[in-house]
């Protein structure tokens, strides 16, 4: 690696912002170009479905760094510009502004695009998806007291939008095709806690009911469910996940399988190209398998590892996957990626929404779900990282603090 190597970061979201800071932090002194198809400087996405929707005017939007930071750090910004292809043999990137940009190393932090529904009426006005700050602001404009919102998809994003919309006095119906909320993440008995949370807050939740069609002349007026129910809608938010962005990886001839395949060093199959964040199907040494995550932790920490390794390090990215969601006054956190849920050990009050639930495998903590127990979750994550052997009775006993359990398990 030469000090003058030109590093190009494609994707100026949260991961792209981390990449700039981490490359400079790791001592890279050569030129950096940051390319992003959004017109904005890098920002973190979690507030888009929460704080930014809960108050009129969407206060609280923060860029990770202001423009002066990028100038001071000699970063060339190409925002509102799309990378169209990578020619890996000549090490050049074709951009939508006509540039043919040479590189020494590339970091792909392109994230993903929202998964879209393909039903009659899908092109009507008033149907929103949520990925960017512009999406969030467009949704915020429809959050008017008394308006009818139908949320398609009872996952994290859909439920956070539902909770935020209730805070604004909007009538909300959630349509979920599966028999429970947050089915990708949660076991049924914990999902039921969130069902009652949303129902108590006035949301109509329709489980086992999918989307059949959108109705309306020009603008959406009704959502037709598979069950035959027709629901009045002034606007719709669809939250059914993302599709990882892999077109550039295809153009570069990289290995792809449910995202860009990378190893625990964030290296793709091309030695000059790295990838990090939502778009990677990465090897996790703790789990012994590849996985793709759509999460803040991964955008932050995998990217930092990728940047260090671009600068000549051999740092391994190995963390217990961890996600969180805020809905109303409830903070949900989940650590681990169990194949399924069984024999949950509950500490605290499950219906009272003040608990942490554990799943053990071979006497060790395999996964944990915390509801309004952030501090206990932090200890649980340490227990997982330490691969500590645990006693079921102690875990279930709220009289013995998690900190005591940590002390005795790791001493």
């Amino acid at each position: 690696m030469s000090a003058n190597d030109h590093f190009v970061i494609i994707g100026a979201g949260h991961a792209g912002g981390v990449a700039v800071q981490a490359l400079r932090g790791a001592g890279h002194e050569g030129p950096i170009t940051l390319i992003g198809d959004e017109p904005h400087l890098p920002y973190e996405r979690p507030p888009l479905s929460k704080e930014l929707l809960q108050t009129a005017g969407g206060d609280g939007f923060r860029l990770m760094r202001d423009k002066a930071y990028y100038e001071e750090n000699n970063v060339t910004l190409k925002l509102g510009v799309k990378a169209l292809g990578i020619d890996a043999s000549s090490q050049r990137i074709t951009l939508s502004d006509g540039t043919n940009l040479p590189y020494d190393k590339v970091l792909l932090t392109t994230g993903g695009a929202v998964r879209e529904v393909d039903v009659p009426g899908a092109d009507l006005k008033g149907i929103h998806y949520l990925r960017t700050i512009d999406d969030s602001r467009a949704i915020a404009q429809s959050l008017i007291e008394g308006n009818n919102l139908v949320v398609v998809g009872g996952g994290f994003i859909g439920l956070e939008v539902a909770a935020s919309a209730r805070a604004r006095g909007v009538n909300v119906t959630v349509l979920e095709a599966a028999p429970q909320l947050m089915g990708r993440a949660l076991p049924a008995d914990i999902a039921a806690v969130f069902l009652s949370l949303h129902e108590e807050n006035g949301v109509t939740v329709r489980l086992n009911d999918g989307l059949r069609a959108f109705g309306g002349a020009d603008h959406i007026t009704r959502v037709e469910a598979v069950s035959g129910e027709s629901i009045a809608a002034d606007f719709v938010v669809v939250g059914i996940g993302i599709v990882p962005e892999t077109e550039l990886a295809v153009s570069a001839g990289l290995d792809i399988e449910n995202g860009i395949t990378v190893d625990e060093f964030a290296r793709t199959s091309n030695p000059n190209i790295y990838a990090a964040g939502d778009n990677t199907n990465h090897f996790n040494p703790l789990l012994g398998r590849h996985l793709r995550l759509e999460a803040w932790q991964n955008a932050q920490n995998q990217t930092a590892v990728a940047a260090q390794n671009m600068c000549g390090s051999d740092t391994v990215y190995a963390e217990t996957p961890w996600v969180w969601s805020d809905q109303y006054d409830v903070n949900l956190q989940m650590a681990g990626q169990p194949a399924g849920w069984n024999d949950l050990i509950v500490r605290g009050d499950l219906p009272g929404r003040d608990f942490i639930a554990f799943q053990l495998a071979d006497g060790k903590l395999d996964a944990a779900i915390a509801v309004n127990r952030a501090r206990d979750m932090r200890v649980a994550r340490r227990l997982m990282d330490a691969s500590a052997s645990l006693n079921i009775d102690d875990l279930a006993n709220d009289e013995i603090s998690m900190r005591e359990i940590l002390k005795s398990a790791t001493s």
Binding site: W324, R375, R378
Partner: protein
């Protein structure tokens, strides 16, 4: 314009179990570090999270959401993603009552 205000009883603040109090618009976290009481702004400088729900270890507090850490005594931001230091408040304990200057 800051003045001493009584905010808690020292017995309420156990080692490694910070609590939060509200003074006007200020959301404040109180910590017990080796028997001494310290106070910082409660909201993490990185994102909206209550540090009183975080994990205290000695004189460090870790944000419950993103693992950013601060020094409780100085407010100094210690590791990514936090960069901006926390505001700290002067404290004193008199007859078991905790006062802070806010």
């Amino acid at each position: 314009m800051s003045e001493w205000q009584q905010v808690a009883s020292a017995d309420d603040i156990k080692p490694d179990e910070p609590i939060k109090v509200q003074i006007g618009d200020d959301d404040i976290a109180l910590y017990n570090v080796g028997g001494e009481i310290f106070a910082t702004a409660n909201i993490c400088t990185h994102a909206f999270a209550s540090l009183a729900d975080g994990f205290q270890e000695g004189d460090e507090i870790e944000c419950p959401l993103h693992d950013g850490r601060f020094n409780i005594k100085t407010g100094k931001a210690l590791c990514p993603p936090v960069e901006q230091d926390l505001k700290t408040y002067e404290t004193k304990v008199e007859d078991g009552a905790v006062f802070i200057k806010a």
